[in-house]
């Protein structure tokens, strides 16, 4: 059987659009713990991934197809390892965009950590303090091509501040 590359379309194709009543999200929680990798799939696009493990978590994005998206939210700061999200093929799939970082413990704080070119950074790494991953941390990765994930969101940090983006 040949699987069509074209996705099933939920729209009614009415030019006025359509409405999705009672819309709900898929929630992904506790599928990774510590350094054990969980491979996200295209079938999970649109899900909210919740970080809530004291030993951290590791999620690998699927091969990007434009329009896929995953949202990540920290419920509980990790105290060992880190919360990490990484592209599937780090030699050719990159993260582009920025997160706005704020300190949970410093007033009048706030800065931005950009990844300006889609040729370097391949992961988000939240250590529970300086690079974020404090409760409330929230970011979205949306595939905009076969090589780039668009990053946007909030990075809630404590202690000193550092970028959560990494090339590995």
């Amino acid at each position: 059987m040949t699987i069509p590359a074209e996705k099933y379309e939920l729209s009614s194709r009415d030019p006025d659009g359509c409405v999705w009543k009672g819309a709900r999200r898929e929630i992904i929680t506790a599928l990774s713990s510590g350094l054990t990798n969980y491979q996200l799939t295209p079938a999970q696009s649109g899900a909210l991934v919740v970080f809530n493990d004291l030993t951290g978590a590791l999620y690998t994005l699927p091969t990007p197809v434009a329009g896929m998206w995953f949202e990540f939210w920290t419920q509980l700061a990790c105290t060992s390892n880190e919360y990490k999200v990484i592209t599937k093929t780090i030699a050719s799939e990159f993260i582009l965009g920025a997160v706005t970082a704020t300190h949970a413990t410093v007033a009048s704080s706030g800065t931005a950590y950009p990844s300006v070119v889609a040729t370097a950074n391949v992961s988000m790494n939240l250590n529970g303090t300086t690079t974020g991953g404090v409760p409330g941390d929230n970011f979205i990765l949306t595939a905009i091509s076969t090589t780039a994930w668009m990053l946007s969101g909030w990075n809630v940090q404590s202690g000193s501040t550092a970028t959560p983006l990494s090339t590995s």
């Binding site: 996705k7 939920l10 729209s11 009614s12 194709r13 009415d14 030019p15 006025d16 659009g17 359509c18 409405v19 999705w20 009543k21 009672g22 819309a23 709900r24 999200r25 898929e26 799939t41 295209p42 079938a43 999970q44 696009s45 649109g46 899900a47 197809v65 434009a66 329009g67 896929m68 998206w69 582009l96 965009g97 920025a98 997160v99 706005t100 970082a101 704020t102 009048s108 704080s109 706030g110 800065t111 931005a112 950590y113 950009p114 990844s115 300006v116 889609a118 979205i140 949306t142 905009i144 780039a148 668009m150 990053l151 946007s152 969101g153 909030w154």
Partner: protein, 172 residues
């Protein structure tokens, strides 16, 4: 034939709601022509829910459709404008306005965060980002949601650089 004002529903009509697993977004990413530089790209009602990419160094111009409550567009910048600006404007600036707020932060100014408000009147019919002080740097993400026939609720994070961030909302 009478056209129903009621939009078609893609829901299962189940009283408990529905979930669309593996859902993908429509991505609107003009490479040239409408939506690039000063050439307006008129967004359509049927494109509601799409992700709009502003990805030209010569700026971009997107015009929202006439608002119908529930429509929404997400907007992200992948390349900062080095000429012109990245701009989103309502379809009819005398009757359709932006209401809400954006958080602006600068990648080059420590503790450089500020909040700018769109007041829902003729003072705010567009958001114009120059790639530096008024934002629109890479990573800017805004969401526009129609809440009535006259107002778009706007929220998001506007990434700036090069100095203290300033108000991106405009009356024209």
């Amino acid at each position: 034939m009478t056209i129903s004002a009621q939009l078609e529903s893609i829901s299962s009509q189940d009283g408990n709601g529905s979930v669309a697993e593996g859902i993908h977004r429509e991505v609107i990413f003009p490479a040239s022509g409408a939506g690039v530089a000063l050439v307006s790209r008129q967004l359509k009602a049927e494109e509601s829910g799409a992700l709009i990419i502003a990805g030209s160094a010569t700026g971009s111009l997107f015009t929202l459709p006439t608002p119908v409550a529930g429509m929404w567009f997400e907007y992200e910048v992948t390349i900062a404008a080095s000429s012109n600006e990245h701009k989103v404007i309502t379809n009819s600036i005398t009757t359709e306005f932006l209401v809400g707020a954006v958080i602006s932060a600068s990648a080059t100014v420590a503790e450089g965060m500020d909040c700018f408000v769109a007041d829902g009147t003729a003072n705010a019919v567009s958001i114009s980002m120059n790639g530096t002080t008024t934002g629109g740097a890479v990573g800017t993400r805004l969401v526009f949601t129609a809440i009535s026939t006259t107002q778009w609720f706007v929220k998001g994070v506007n990434q700036g650089s090069g100095g203290a961030v300033t108000d991106p909302f405009d009356a024209s």
